[in-house]
Amino acid sequence: MNGPFQFRIDGVEVAATPGQTIMEAADAAGIYIPRLCDVEGLRHQGGCRVCTVKVGGKAAGRSVSACTQPAEPGLEVENDTEARNRVRRDLVEMLFHEGNHLCPICEKSGNCELQAMACRLDMTAATRFPYLEPCRDLDASHPDIALDTNRCISCGRCIRASQDVDAKGVFGYVGRGIHRRVAVNGADLAHTDAALADHAMSVCPVGCIIRKGEGFATPIGARHFDHGLIGHEIEGRAGEDLARKDGRK
């Protein structure tokens, strides 16, 4: 497998190069696959499973995470279907219930990827899951940064950013299973190397890592997801490609 090849997502031909994941090829083709733990510029983790797609046909197919699964020639991928999106919606809903997510008082609201994913996936029906309502810490020790772990979804972005980009290792996982949490490598954030300019401080998809003094600066209507559904930028690429080709004619 050396040269570029084709595979299909929901019946649409997509071009890929060897080594590309399903998600990377989809992004380039302007097909959005929902995701929370994966973000451009950090290594893939495959933790949240919101990107789960089915490969290899409906009956015999198996579920894989599109952010880690390599694309293969001829692969049939099921992505934007009611069945896939229902599983994703349940996953996102469970993330809401596992922490304490009070969007009306959260400064990330409107810029939050978890909230935006809930809107994209139409999380509006009465819930079937219990709220766990955990007691979690607020760490406001650092002069520039606060951590409200009530909103942490354990996506690991801050961990990867701090280790791989900042070369600091400020964040890490502690505990196992449902008790696995993200912790800092000091008594509190003030007793770590954390600095506002760290890449880790800009990757949190939710309102857990808070940059002090910036809250609610953007008015309602001008926030990131006030301009469109999460993923609309990627979906816009498909149109751009066509427009570019048309222009060349």
Binding site: E133, P134, G228
Partner: protein
């Protein structure tokens, strides 16, 4: 032939701030068109306090934080064909549910009331008492979303929901054509 009757709408504010009722007024001049098709029955807008006849649509603002809220909500379910939870408080408890986070302590209600009336740093309570008049509804162990108490047919998210989403949802329901929300219009705040 008799004129088709107007749909009867009942509304109530449980553990809410009345912001969702204010949001109903954000329908603005379209209220005139809406009022051609509906009449408000039991509602703070009419000051009718009990159900005297069956209603087509019940709109609930707020979750349940005391026993009276629970009785009222069950009464709405019994008397309304379609029940709508309007706003984050009704849907998931909202701001009042902030107190649920302390509910893991050994004596949560006591802790909550003591902080609210006795020990909180910004208090002025000259009686030094926690209110316990018998006419006050008993406060619940925690704040419950409406869907944990009764079946809810539709939930309109927002804090408060926009006049647009309330209007378009009501009109679609009246037309029998509600098939879901436009995802671009969904807000959780």
């Amino acid at each position: 032939m008799t004129e088709p009757r107007k749909a009867r709408v009942a509304t109530v504010s449980l553990a809410g701030c009345f912001g969702c009722h204010m949001a109903i007024l954000d329908i603005d001049e379209r209220l005139i068109a809406l009022m051609e098709r509906v009449e408000f029955d039991r509602s703070p807008l009419t000051d009718i306090k009990t159900f005297n006849r069956r209603c087509d649509i019940g709109i609930i603002e707020g979750g349940c934080c005391n026993e009276e809220n629970v009785h009222t909500l069950i009464d709405f379910r019994k008397n309304c064909d379609v029940l709508i939870a309007l706003g984050q408080c009704a849907i998931m408890g909202g701001l009042p549910a902030m107190r649920n986070a302390i509910m893991h302590s050994a004596d949560p209600l006591r802790e909550c009331l003591e902080e609210a009336y006795l020990t909180g740093p910004y208090l002025r309570n000259t009686t030094r008492l926690i209110p316990n008049d018998p006419v006050l509804p008993l406060i619940l162990d925690k704040v419950y979303p409406c869907s944990e108490i009764v079946d809810i047919d539709y939930q309109i998210p927002g804090c408060a929901p926009s006049g647009d989403i309330i209007f378009s949802t009501l009109v679609a329901l009246l037309d029998g054509k509600f098939t879901g929300f436009e995802r671009e219009t969904l807000r959780f705040d």
